[in-house]
Subunit: 161 residues, 2 copies
C-alpha cells in the first residue's frame, strides 16, 4: 500500500501538499528505476554496489556499508550474490587481512555500463513531460532541499537511522 503515497486519480477535496507530492513522485521514481534494473537482472541494491565500486574500486565491505547507509551484514549477501554471478570479486587486502578489496570484474563493468544507459533512459522517461528549462529548475530546487536536509548536523541523518 502506498498510504502516504496514495495515487488516487480522484481529485482530493483539499489541494495536495508539496511534501505529499514529493513523496508520491519520489516513490514513483524509485519504483520505475527498480523496474529498469530488473530488466538487467539486477536489484536496486545490486545497482548501488556496482555504482559505488565503479567509482571507488578496492572498497572494503565496511566502507561500502557506510556509504550506502546500511550495516555490514547486509553487504555480505549482496556481494555474495554479485560474486556468484561473476560481477564483483573479493580479494584480501595485503596490508590488513581482515579487509576485502572489492572490485568489478569485466562483466561487472559491462553491467554498470548497461545500468548507466537504463538510468539515462529512466531519467528521460520520468521527465518527459517537462521542458528542458523546467527540468533544470526542478533539479535545482531538489538540490537545495537535499543540501538543506543533509548538511544540517542538528537534524537526524537520513541514512542508517
Amino acid at each position: 500500500m502506498e498510504y502516504y503515497h496514495e495515487m488516487d486519480p480522484r481529485r482530493p477535496a483539499t489541494p495536495q501538499r508539496t511534501s505529499f507530492l514529493l513523496a508520491q513522485v519520489g516513490a514513483l521514481a524509485s519504483k520505475r528505476f527498480a523496474e529498469h534494473t530488473r530488466t538487467l537482472g539486477l536489484t536496486p541494491g545490486d545497482a548501488g554496489v556496482l555504482r559505488l565500486l565503479g567509482r571507488s574500486p578496492a572498497l572494503s565491505q565496511r566502507e561500502l556499508a557506510d556509504r550506502l547507509g546500511t550495516v555490514p551484514s547486509r553487504i555480505v549477501s549482496l556481494v555474495d550474490s554479485l560474486e556468484t554471478r561473476g560481477l564483483v570479486e573479493r580479494s584480501r587486502s595485503t596490508t590488513d587481512r581482515r579487509n576485502y578489496e572489492l572490485r568489478l570484474t569485466p562483466s561487472g563493468q559491462e553491467h554498470l555500463a548497461r545500468l548507466r544507459r537504463v538510468a539515462e533512459q529512466h531519467e528521460t522517461e520520468l521527465l518527459a513531460s517537462l521542458t528542458p528549462e523546467e527540468a533544470a529548475q526542478l533539479h535545482n530546487l531538489l538540490q537545495v532541499l537535499a543540501a538543506a536536509h543533509t548538511l544540517d548536523p542538528d537534524l537526524h541523518q537520513e541514512t542508517g537511522r
Copy 2:
C-alpha cells in the same frame, strides 16, 4: 539501506540525476512524515485511513483498499487496530449487510485534526530552505509529473501494481 536513495554526504563524481534526487528527497519526505505521525501514536497507514474517512465517511473496506491502492486484507488489521483504539467504528450497511460503513469517532476526528497540524508543520520544515516562490514552482513541477504519469493509461499504475 537506501541503495538508490543513498544520502552520502560526499559529492559524487558525476552530477546526480534529477530522478535520483527526486527519489532521495521523496524518501526523506516520507520518512519525516512517518516520524511526525509516530509522535501521535499513528503509523502512516493509520494516517491514510483517517484522512480518507475524514473526507469520505461511510466508506467500505473494499473502497478504502481501492483508494489506498492496496488489498482488502491489508485494511482489516489497519481498521481492527483503529477500532480497538476507538478512532474508527464499523457499522454494517443496512442495504447490503456484507459491507461495513466506516466512520471516524469523535476521538478519530480529533486525531485527524492533530494529523493535519503535524502535516502542516512537516510541510513547513521540509520546504524551509525555499522561498515561497520556489516552493510554488516546485509544487507546479511535481504536479505536472504526477499528472503525466497517472493519467496515461498505457503506463502501469503506481498503486496496487
